[in-house]
């Protein structure tokens, strides 16, 4: 039986239809990615599943409990790392975990043991007794992860767990998530704007746009639907019609003197293809990524909204938020 099941889960805020009927089945132990541009409804969906946002209609069941009828039981089963930082900055790292442990009714006999384990896991033992306002952004995020996992939830929701972190810390954080998910047999539902990372870590991904799930599959299968490899050729006069009629070419796109060809088994057919094109300036072959799938499905690049390639402003926001505390 699936550990998370939703049926037509819907949320409207006044006139805004944030989530328009989502059906999901997520199995125990899965790492599931919810991908979509800003405002797609990811945070709202997670909010409903954690019972802090009341659904307008539809149903959701987590670990056998209905999110609308048994919110307290659901809350016991889930952990969450919010998109925005929520640490108590006037408490130390350890105190943040102690507060959480009591709020979740962790018995006093194991409380300190579990806290030490989590601090160990996220490499924060040395700084555990410092106020969290003296932590770096990455350390705060790691502490939030530890806090989300402390009460050993069956399902862990991670809303942009790596937002505002540098690439190195991001890679480490994903490593933690993978390790923890395996060790605690936790089901993980995450959102992220970093497509390559989602591709690496998720067993399955759902692409959400304007409140609807528009695709749901394993990253591999999604990439397969792209129809092969992507070859980018720069040449002034490509014989377009001839190329299009080739049996192994599944799609073609031109811009300026560059054509982007999606083709099956590029390693077998590339030589023949190139022999047909005069004056080739450059050739580049690559495997398609989730980003390509995303562009194909939604018609726009997630990076336009999320600034994967303009790291600086993500970091600016993160820094701004931290200063605010």
């Amino acid at each position: 039986m699936a550990i998370i099941e939703t049926r037509s889960l819907t949320k409207t805020f006044g006139k805004i239809q944030a989530v328009r009927g989502i059906d999901l089945n997520i199995e125990k132990g899965e790492i599931f990615g919810l991908l979509g541009p800003n405002g797609a409804g990811k945070t709202t969906t997670i909010g409903m599943l954690c019972t802090i946002v009341r659904p307008t209609s539809g149903q959701g069941i987590i670990a056998g409990f209905d999110i609308a009828r048994h919110p307290t039981q659901v809350r016991r089963k889930v952990g969450i790392v919010f998109q925005d930082p929520t640490l108590d900055t006037i408490l130390t790292g350890r105190e943040n975990l102690q507060l959480h442990a009591r709020l979740y009714g962790i018995p006093a006999s194991v409380r300190n043991l579990w806290i030490e384990e989590m601090l160990e896991l996220v490499d924060l033992r040395e700084r555990a007794d410092d106020l969290t306002k003296t932590y770096s952004g990455g350390m705060r995020r790691r502490l939030e992860l530890a806090r989300g996992l402390l009460h050993r939830p069956a399902v862990l929701f991670l809303d942009e767990p790596t937002l505002g972190l540098d690439p190195q810390t991001r890679a480490r954080t994903w490593e933690y998530i993978r390790t923890m998910a395996k060790r605690e047999e936790t089901t993980v539902v995450l959102t992220t704007h970093y497509m390559e990372e989602a591709q690496n870590i998720c067993n399955r991904v759902g692409i959400i746009d304007a409140g609807r799930i528009i695709a749901l599959d394993t990253p591999e299968n999604m990439i397969d639907t792209m129809g092969g490899d992507i070859v980018t050729i720069q040449a002034p006069k490509p014989p377009l019609n001839q190329i299009r009629s080739l049996p192994y070419v599944s799609a073609m796109k031109t811009s300026g003197d560059t054509i982007e060809i999606t083709m099956k088994s590029a390693h077998l057919h590339l030589a023949e293809l190139l022999s047909m094109i005069p004056e080739v300036i450059s050739v580049e072959t690559r495997k398609p990524t989730l980003s390509d799938v995303f562009i194909k499905l939604t018609g726009h690049d997630i990076r336009d909204d999320a600034a994967e390639n303009s790291e600086s402003w993500v970091e600016t926001i993160a820094r701004y938020r931290q200063r605010g505390k």
Binding site: C50, T51, T72, F82, D84, I90, L91, L99, R102, L103
Partner: protein, 254 residues
């Protein structure tokens, strides 16, 4: 099963309480200013006026000691409650509100936390009661009881207002239009008798905090307008109402 749930709720209440206490202890500047301000009222204001005025045979500075204790409770309690506006702004509360603990328990944890802070501040002021020769030290336990109940009422009121308000601008409004009037109208600084204009008498009578001041003054100085049980009854009723109002508004928050 049900005892287990009760246990978890109590643990939740104590968790929030514990957190508030940690924060209070850590913000030393708040403790210091909560002590310095009343002392300035007593010694700079009270001694100044007291130089040319006594009430009955009691020095003015001693006379306002119960009123200044009440003032500490009013400011400390309401501001503690209003502080959740700030907590919400910083999302500190979000992680607490998603825990499997009812809102009511979180509310009670906050009330306990606020009362503890305020009571500790009041105890510091009591430690200096020997500077006020007319104060009867045997009245302190009774005065503490009245101040505690008042604090419960006012922390709840602060939390109730804090759950309604979105922005910190409300802070200023509440402080000018609620806290200061309520303080001035409580008889903290002057005796309430027939010499007051009648409109002022009415305002003082409908202010629940007048009964706190009267009760504390009765306990410490032996001067009071109402019998002790009337003061206690009115304050207890006020506290019960505010607890109810606060828990409803806090549960509905956001």
């Amino acid at each position: 099963m049900s005892t287990n749930i009760l246990q978890k709720e109590l643990l939740g209440i104590s968790a929030v309480w514990w957190r508030e206490f940690k924060v209070f202890w850590r913000e030393k500047s708040r403790i210091v200013s909560s002590f310095v301000q009343p002392m300035m009222w007593l010694f700079l204001f009270g001694s100044g006026i007291g130089a040319s005025l006594s009430i009955g045979d009691i020095n003015y500075r001693d006379y306002i000691y119960p009123g200044i204790l009440t003032m500490s409770v009013i400011f400390g309690s309401v501001f503690f409650g209003l502080y959740i506006i700030w907590d919400r702004k910083l999302d500190v509360l979000k992680a607490v509100l998603v825990a499997p603990v009812t809102r009511i328990s979180i509310f009670f944890g906050k009330v306990l936390g606020g009362c503890t802070d305020v009571l500790l501040q009041v105890l510091i002021l009591f430690a200096f009661s020997f500077l006020f020769p007319s104060v009867n030290p045997w009245g302190i336990p009774l005065a503490l009881l009245i101040l505690l109940i008042t604090s419960i009422a006012l922390v709840s009121l602060g939390l109730a207002l804090g759950s309604l308000l979105e922005s910190l601008e409300g802070f200023q409004v509440i402080s000018s239009f609620l806290i200061f009037p309520v303080f001035f109208l409580s008889g903290a600084l002057f005796p309430i008798d027939d010499r007051l204009p009648s409109w002022l008498q009415v305002l003082v009578k409908i202010n629940p905090l007048s009964y706190t001041v009267d009760g504390v003054r009765g306990a410490l100085l032996g001067i009071h307008t109402y019998p002790f049980y009337v003061n206690l009854g009115i304050i207890a009723f006020f506290a019960a109402t505010m607890l109810l109002l606060g828990s409803i508004l806090f549960s509905r928050m956001k």
